[in-house]
Amino acid sequence: MVQASVNSSPILITGATGFLGGFLAGELIKRGRKTILLVRPKGNDSALKRVSKLLKFLDIQPEHEPVVIPGEIDKHGLGLSDEHRRILKDVNEVLHCAADTSFAERKKQQVEQTNLQGLRNVFDVVPNCERFYHMSSAYSAGKQEGIIKEQMHHPPAFHNPYERSKNEAEKLITNLCSEKGINLTIFRPSITYGDTTTGKSLRFNALYFPVRTLLFFKDSLKKDLLERSGQRAAEMGVSINEDGTLHLPLTFPGSGGLNLVPINFLVKAVTAIMDSGETGIFHIVNPKSLTIGQLAQNIQKHYAISGLSVAAKAAQDGPLQTLINRYLDVYYPYFCDNRIFDDFQAKKILEPLGIECPELTSDVFKRCMDYAIEVGWGSKIRV
């Protein structure tokens, strides 16, 4: 156990203005932990300004103000000043959450640069690190089928450059830590969504995306039907029902489910594992997946849409169906996932503490989506 010796020293957190890193940083700050946040200045916002926006978003008045260091993990030496480099010499613990999560093939180079070279760059600036927490992904398993264990994967292939980079990053950090005798903990969350109690989130992809798409087109098509000729909507088979709901004849093709964990569970689970001092690989996953049928049902129930169905193959074509098909092409491995993510190691720590993944109920779904709508799918809360 190295916990007692390192907890008095500050922990360096990367990706602290991102979704997982932001909520985790917030929790550690709330607990009174001394933190050093590595933050990239963005647009007109300095690193400090971004952190102040984050703390405001999380509604935190810290006991210990975090130390904010401007830096970019893509750069060798993170582009740090000498003073900041000196500060990081005293750091014994790192929570590395910074990542590029793009699935786009054209961004492959950038994804590799951030997720692999960036990881190495971070590792290199903390010469006295004793414990490294690495935020990976359940999907570093790539195209591996069946039961996915909490161990290193060697899958036959990957669905996208992101998965590959996360897999390679796990191997890279394992080697680096092993060479230097550093304790390593790897977290592998599945798809993360907002806080089940407040709906708050900093990222609105994956689960949010089909809802956002349908609601956007619902508004556009309704406008076409009510304010213009409605010809375009009619061509797509879209109409307004007697009860005012919009009929969108769309099929979500495929079966299986989506493994989702809310951010409040992730924060609890990750910090509990950190507190435990255990090293190794931990799946932060949901034992119960959300099915596509449940997703469609929730959308229809809460957002005045009808006509959504689930089938092995789409019964109709048309532009909206093309988008849905396209969406499922990209997210298919996550939406139609029949794999079982074994979380034996994580459960060993979490169960005794009564930490378990809450269910994504219809109410929670609505709370999270309403929040997303309120904040313009993230456009109003740029951190």
């Binding site: 793009s102 054209r106 996208n160 956007f216 556009s220 048309g318 988008l323 396209r326 092409d329």
Partner: protein, 630 residues
């Protein structure tokens, strides 16, 4: 009344007016009726540039800066302006400047001044009397108000040069007599067309010969030929040709056609099939430096078709040209083919040209694409980001042609954005910058780029619905008082039709919206496409080093893919001395930079080597070392 508080707003107002007046780009778009609004009535009636908005901008700046006296000519200019507002729409479309406030200020200034003063009458002199004897009183002047309108150019390497006289001949005979008079009297002269060349080439301290009155166009459709007077603009000629079912190879709409041939030779996207240089010329009529009239078709005429890099440019004045008419077919249209890298885009364009596919081909950068289709500069800035970062479109190959051309081009293209999709994007530009469709497409990106999803044929109704593509939606982007005008303007199909837009090129004038445009054209061999990209990168490095904004413009393959006409553009606020200084440095570095490429491959040729040799056969400068004379 506290004087300082009364005067303060006036000074602010004056500064605002000066800010606008000094920023006229001199592109002469106010001299062509490109928006269907007609043209400035005062300019049309009086012809001298000082009566057009372009000239009035220069005059107002000079008056407010006390650089010219209030003359009878100035009073006449101000009185002739009816404040009809045509220029307001035209200038906003191109530059977003609002000239009407400038002219109201000039009128107010003169009203005040004339309450207690008389205007100065500039006395005539012997030379002026002789000019007037040739052209009539109205078209020869030495009034400073008129002269100042011919004295400036936005080019950072040109300096004000106020001529002694301005004359506007009506025909070739008058030009001949004027040149002979100048020879006799030892008067230097400079010929100018519609604008001011935008490179400072038409400024002079002696006599300015303005050819804008020479507006005769005579069609000979039997011979598929048209005779064009030296005062006819490309837009006017193209309009007349299209009305008869033909098209001419034409460049910038406001450029005078003959002057354009003389200056650099004609080129446009249509050069892919119509050629460039002498390819479209049937004959030319000239006045020699001694005042003699000759035609190129005469056996003893100077050989203006020949080309030598080091020879001095022609000094003759082109007064008329006979050029080819190209028939328009009913099934002509356009497609746009997006690419995410330059070399692949050029390879596609070259292959099309090699196979004689397409009437016009152009590889456009994201700068052109966003600037052309955006009604405002702010929106263009947003769209640059949208096309490049969100949609993944770095380059767009525009292909113009008949059905057979376009079917073949589609077959060879990885992805096609059809005319209807481009129209939906153009009319939906305000929505492209908002959260919505683009973010959704971006969220769907995996192996397929967002533009590939957008290009799927079934997506069109959804794109139109999502962007709310309509003239009304587009008009939301412009100033409130112009919304109704824009809605009506964009209800015309032409404004969103890629073929029409490339035929008349009216949106390309928007390239100067963010500041005056310094164009660098380079002829590049297309058997070495990596070299083309290297030139592009060298330009980028040069502009970055000098601290000026520069962007790739376009590349058009010509002569079956043998060569490419490559354009790189640099932008400057010509009224800002700091920017001007940076640009002067950048412009000074372009030549040496290109020379390095020319040393490696002599076929790389800067357009400055072709300047004022526009009647030359393209073979003279495309195929270096292949002729007997080299």
């Amino acid at each position: 009344m506290n004087h300082s508080s009364k005067n303060q707003p006036i000074t602010d107002h004056k500064n605002k007016i000066l800010h606008t007046a000094r920023r006229c780009r001199h592109y002469a778009m106010c001299k062509v009726g490109f928006l269907g609004t007609g043209i400035c009535p005062s300019g049309t009636k009086n012809h001298i540039v000082s009566f057009y908005p372009q000239g009035m901008m220069d005059i107002t700046a000079a008056v407010l800066e006390n650089r010219i006296p209030v003359t009878t000519g100035l009073v006449e200019v101000a009185n002739e302006c009816t404040l009809c507002g045509i220029c307001e729409k035209q200038c906003y479309f191109v530059t977003e400047l609002r000239p009407l406030a400038v002219f109201k200020t000039l009128k107010r200034y003169l009203d005040d001044y004339l309450q207690s003063n008389d205007p100065v009458e500039i006395p005539s002199d012997e030379f002026l009397s002789k000019l007037k004897a040739i052209t009539g009183d109205k078209y020869a002047t030495n009034d400073p108000a008129h002269l100042i309108a011919y004295a400036n150019d936005p080019c950072p390497t040109s300096y004000e040069s106020i001529p002694k006289y301005v004359v506007l001949p009506d025909d070739t005979q008058q030009v001949s007599e004027i040149v002979k008079l100048c020879c006799r009297e030892g008067m230097s002269y400079t010929v100018r067309g519609n604008g001011s060349s935008a490179m400072g080439f038409v400024l002079g301290s002696g006599l300015i010969i303005d050819t804008t009155r020479m507006k005769k166009i005579v069609f000979d459709t039997g011979n598929r030929a048209v005779t064009v007077g030296a005062g006819v603009s490309s837009f006017e000629l193209q309009k007349e040709a299209v009305a008869r079912g033909y098209r001419v190879l034409a460049a910038e709409p406001s450029a005078l056609y003959c002057a354009n041939i003389m200056c650099s030779g004609l080129f446009s996207l249509f050069s892919s099939s119509y050629g460039t240089g002498a390819d479209n010329l049937i004959d030319g009529e000239f006045v020699s430096k001694d005042g003699d009239i000759f035609a190129l078709s005469q056996r003893d005429a100077p050989n203006l078709y020949g080309f030598s890099k080091n020879e001095h440019p022609i000094q003759e004045i082109c007064t008329r040209a006979v050029v080819k008419l190209h028939p328009i077919e009913a099934d002509e249209s356009a497609i746009a083919v997006p690419f995410s890298d330059m070399q692949t885009a050029i390879r596609y364009a070259k292959k099309l040209n090699q196979r004689h596919i397409g009437l016009g081909i152009g590889v456009l950068g994201e700068e052109y694409l966003s600037t052309f289709i955006s009604p405002t500069s702010e929106l263009a800035e947003t769209l640059r980001n949208v096309f490049h970062k969100e949609l993944g479109i770095e380059y767009l190959v525009v292909v113009l042609g008949n059905k057979h051309h376009l079917d073949a081009a589609r077959d060879m293209a990885p992805i096609v954005l059809e005319q209807d999709v481009m129209k939906a994007l153009m009319l939906g530009t305000p929505a492209l910058g908002e959260d919505g469709l683009i973010q959704i497409l971006r969220g769907l990106e995996g192996e397929e780029k967002p533009y590939e999803i957008m290009a799927k044929p079934e997506m069109l109704p959804l794109i139109e619905t999502a962007l709310d593509s309509s003239p009304q939606r587009l008009s939301e982007a412009v100033d409130d008082d112009l919304k109704a005008f824009y809605e009506k303007l964009y209800s015309r199909n032409e404004l969103t039709n890629m073929l029409w837009l490339n035929t008349f090129r009216i949106v390309s004038s928007r390239m100067g919206r963010d500041g005056h445009l310094i164009v660098s054209v380079v002829y590049v061999p297309l058997d070495n496409i990596p070299q083309v990209e290297a030139i592009h990168k060298a330009f980028k490095e040069l502009t970055d080093t000098c601290g000026v904004r520069g962007e790739f413009g376009f590349l058009t393959p010509v002569d079956q893919g043998a060569m490419g006409i490559f354009e790189w553009d640099m932008y400057v606020d010509h009224a800002d001395p700091v920017e001007v200084e940076k640009m002067q440095k950048a412009m000074g570095n372009v030549g040496p930079m290109l020379e390095r490429f020319t040393q490696e491959d002599p076929r790389v040729l800067w357009i400055m080597d072709v300047l004022n040799k526009g009647f030359s056969r393209k073979e003279g400068y495309f195929y270096h070392g292949a002729s007997f004379s080299e």
